[in-house]
Symmetry: C2
């Protein structure tokens, strides 16, 4: 069947564009030893937009994403929050969070989720982490769904102790204790 060839090519095309999304139809045609028109038909049927559109979408997404992933104040989705008391956040483990070698989530994502949740719970205009004690109990794999629960244990002056426990769907996989220091709005004496 000729259809088999086509289906194989469709898969290969998608894979190729995943690896290098900046290829023109002409380059793709060359790469697959077919005509440009075939590539266009393939794209059409797969719903893959043209190079410029792809690029634009990536650039636009990046504008959002770099802010969201790399610079969001909270890693994970906040689903419940009682200021000064407790909070819950959920984080889905995506492929780019895992170590390539082992397929296990890099530890600092768990840490980031817990830490930023702990910060969110603090009822203060600004806060900094002072000390953290962290225990990883189970390795996390891709597509797992991590639910972190934070609880304020003690509050004394500007110092707050927060416990965060993270579970996957079955068991506790991570826990951390943070000592978080709230910052006053007043000017800091010895700053820089």
């Amino acid at each position: 069947m000729a259809a088999a060839k086509k289906i194989t090519r469709h898969k290969a095309l998608q894979e190729q564009l995943r690896l290098d999304p900046f290829m023109t139809d002409e380059q793709l045609a060359e790469a697959f030893s077919v005509s440009v028109q075939t590539i266009r038909l393939d794209r059409l049927r797969l719903g893959i937009p043209e190079l410029r559109e792809r690029t634009r979408l990536m650039a636009e997404a990046a504008r959002q994403k770099v802010k969201a992933i790399a610079s969001s104040d909270l890693v994970g989705d906040l689903i419940d929050l009682e200021l000064g008391k407790s909070g819950i956040s959920v984080l889905e483990v995506t492929p780019d969070m895992v170590l390539e070698k082992t397929g296990i989530a890099r530890g600092h994502y768990l840490y980031a989720q817990a830490n930023s949740l702990a910060m969110a719970v603090i009822d203060a205009p600004a806060a900094l982490t002072g000390v953290a004690n962290v225990k990883y109990k189970r390795p996390i794999r891709i597509n797992e769904r991590l639910v972190a629960k934070a609880e304020v244990i003690r509050q004394r002056g500007n110092n707050t102790i927060v416990w965060v426990k993270t579970r996957n769907d079955r068991e506790e996989v991570f826990r951390a204790k943070f000592l978080i220091v709230s910052l006053e709005e007043k000017k800091e004496g010895k700053d820089k």
Copy 2:
């Protein structure tokens, strides 16, 4: 002088494109009530590439960045490594690493740098963090240059204790102790 008008427009043009880089020359011309050609001349003299090029550069940069920030095994640049003994990594604090409110680096970047350095130092095919004890000593601000030094303190079986101390140009700002567990290549019994 007519040159003044031009210079003002140049500034405004750069600002406009910073806010919305996805504008065509035609839209820009309309926005500034000048002809398309004027915009083109302005771009030429300011060294601003055309829309498509701009978009492409953004998309490419994002690809690097998401890989580098979100998916690199090592956060920071490894500049020295003695496997099983010690390592040094450097991390420059960029604007997207800081909390907007305070301009202070979010803690999990320091953690990520230290943790991934500690992992790199371990002389094993794969490793996982078991426990971490972390202390933040000084807040970190933008453009600071963080030098993390990792040192293997003790090694017993699959467990390794690594100390990481991070300094900015003046003083120690962060330290962490990690217990890292090396994984054997052999098959794990109770996996999922």
